[in-house]
């Protein structure tokens, strides 16, 4: 135990472990330290005056340790997968299809190591920075069917031609490695008018990333003694006007109503997360490691078991990590939070009183598609209403409670998160207010 304490830094907020220690001992030391801390918190030797402060700070550190433990396990799993898949470096052929014929390129990249982002960097930094999703078509299917280009069968005197099997177009995250020969297309937020499917996929992926960030915001915003279960991200189209996350809040908060200040606070918390320019890393974990990571979270265990039930007991579970936060998510996500420009939390609605499920909604737009504040406020007002797209019709939510905050016409939640220069009062572009306190001050349960 003493060895552990020597190895770890005693500062409770530091994540940086001394680098001259071997990784395996580091991990063991950290897990021992974790146990020590939790044991010590159970032994109550507090003075009366410092009781509350000590308690909350210990709860805080417990959360932080939990997150650190998870990311350590994630790192371990990642390293192991790399070691399994790359005993020695093999090459794959990647055909990049650009906007115009002259942009096409053929590249030899490393199997299971190089990502679409690396391919883009070979072409140019502009392409690499502006691309957000990748469409990958594995070329194995094509090579099989070149011999059978068209089959002509005479059936009742008519010639019937069957086309060769179309290779699947897979959506790929930009930062996840490529395992086979393929053709690559990089998608941006604004492309040609005619490419509707591509735009739809990019918009869906963007909506998903924003919901995932909402999950992290919820974890950060509420006090630690509140139990919050993140239920799921409902499948909602972009046209409904807001991205959502379904939550299970503390049973003591049944009669709570979200006020404007709470929403502004949560937007600032979101800004703090987004401003760190976090990459979204994907890993396909086995069921065992996933259960180990999400040990202490009931809801996540439920989602894991549901996924296993749906896809079969041996399927892998896709887990995304950004910074310290992790979430289980199926579809592809945006590469980096640096692409986000507008981001606000617009509403917290109580969907049903019996089961205490709530829905948190938000609105966001990327850097390339900024809006004027007048148009933005119109969209914001729309996003404040409860999104009922995937809720059953006879849901018992209050539709009469129209949450009209006492806001002037030109006020919006976003305006309250902007930093303005003290001299001129103008908004210093891209300078947003971030909240430093971890605890939601108005939630006083």
């Amino acid at each position: 135990m003493i060895v552990c304490m020597l190895i770890m830094n005693l500062n409770k907020n530091s994540r940086f472990i001394s680098s001259f220690v071997k990784p395996t001992t580091r991990k063991r030391a950290f897990l021992c330290w974790n146990k020590l801390k939790t044991c010590s918190s159970n032994i109550s030797v507090y003075t009366a005056s410092h009781n509350e402060h000590r308690e909350t700070s210990l709860i805080e550190s417990r959360e932080k340790n939990e997150l650190q433990r998870r990311s350590l396990l994630f790192d371990e799993a990642k390293k192991q997968q790399l070691a399994d898949r790359v005993p020695r470096i093999e090459k794959i052929e990647v055909k990049y299809k650009g906007r115009v014929l002259t942009d096409d390129a053929v590249m030899f990249m490393n199997k299971n190591l190089s990502t679409p982002y690396h391919c883009a960097m070979h072409i140019g930094t502009g392409v690499a920075n502006s691309s957000v999703l990748a469409v990958v078509t594995p070329s194995d299917a094509q090579s099989n069917s070149t011999s059978v280009s068209k089959v002509q069968t005479s059936h009742d005197g008519e010639l019937v031609t069957t086309d060769p099997a179309k290779p699947e177009q897979l959506l790929w995250d930009i930062h996840s490695p490529l395992p086979f020969d393929c053709e690559l297309q990089l998608l941006k937020f604004t492309m040609n008018n005619t490419l509707q499917w591509q735009h739809e996929q990019v918009n869906k992926a963007y909506w998903r990333t924003c919901s995932v960030i909402l999950g992290a915001v919820v974890q950060e915003a509420f006090k630690e003694n509140q139990k919050i279960g993140l239920l799921k991200i409902p499948e909602i189209s972009v046209k409904s006007g807001a991205f959502c996350y379904d939550l299970l809040l503390d049973p003591g908060m049944r009669d709570w109503e979200a006020k404007e200040e709470d929403l502004v606070f949560m937007s600032k918390v979101a800004r703090r997360i987004i401003s760190r320019n976090l990459k979204f890393e994907k890993l396909e974990l086995e069921a065992g490691t996933a259960l180990e990571i999400f040990q202490e979270d009931e809801q996540k265990m439920n989602t894991i078991s549901e996924l296993l039930h749906k896809n079969g007991q041996d399927s892998s579970i896709p887990v995304y990590r950004f910074g310290e936060y992790m979430d289980i998510m199926e579809g592809p996500l945006i590469s980096n939070t640096a692409h986000i420009f507008h981001y606000i939390v617009t509403a917290l609605h109580q969907v049903s009183k019996e089961t205490n499920t709530w829905r948190i909604q938000g609105l966001s737009l990327p850097e390339e598609l900024k809006l004027h504040h007048s148009v933005w406020s119109v969209l914001e007002n729309r996003a404040r209403k409860l999104v009922t797209e995937d809720l059953p019709e006879n849901c018992d939510h209050d539709t009469d409670k129209s949450k009209k905050f006492n806001m002037h016409r030109y006020e919006s939640i976003e305006n309250k998160t902007k930093n303005r220069s003290k001299a001129t009062g103008q908004w210093l572009l891209k300078d947003w207010m971030t909240s430093a306190e971890k605890i939601d001050p108005t939630v006083s349960n």
């Binding site: 604004t190 918009n203 737009l365 969209l379 729309r382």
Partner: protein
């Protein structure tokens, strides 16, 4: 700052009041007849405002003295008058607002000349000629999808409101 440039608006003199009126009348008639004309940018920008107003007046389809005066002055020819009421008004029946489009023509070959004029093409929307290579808004990007959805919501709300008003 001269009054004509305040608030980003441009009030052009175009050679004097009388001359300006005659010029604009000619241009409006030409636009109604040909549906696509090529002039300088300033003249096209001015006729846009008058054509929008004229079509709005014609759409109201009231037979009072004001409409008769206006249509009588601006759509001079008989053929233009009939075209305005029989072709353009039904074409723009559901279209609210801007009925024309301006496309700028290239200037690289005339920039070195001192008194070069920026030429533009002014056309009525929905005309049967092959389309101009003007960059239209991309309806599939995220912000346009959201705005279109918000517009539909607002329209639906307005319809239900009007229905309830008419029924009550």
């Amino acid at each position: 700052m001269p009054r004509g440039f305040a608030h980003g608006n441009v009030f052009r003199k175009l050679g004097g009041h009388q001359r300006r009126m005659k010029l604009l009348k000619i241009l409006v008639n030409a636009l109604i007849k040909n549906e696509r004309i090529e002039t300088t940018f300033t003249k096209a920008h001015e006729t846009q405002k008058y054509i929008h107003r004229l079509i709005d007046i014609a759409k109201q389809s009231t037979n009072d003295a004001y409409t008769k005066d206006m249509v009588g002055y601006w759509a001079d020819d008989d053929s233009n008058k009939t075209k305005l009421f029989n072709v353009l008004v039904p074409r723009f029946a559901e279209h609210s607002g801007k009925y024309t489009r301006i496309a700028m023509l290239p200037t690289w070959h005339i920039k070195d000349i001192d008194d070069h004029k920026k030429m533009a093409v002014l056309e009525l929307k929905g005309n049967p000629l092959p389309p101009l290579p003007v960059k239209e808004d991309n309806p599939h990007t995220l912000q346009n999808v959201l705005i279109a959805a918000a517009k539909n919501d607002w329209k639906a709300a307005k319809n239900t409101q009007s229905v309830s008003e008419s029924s009550s």
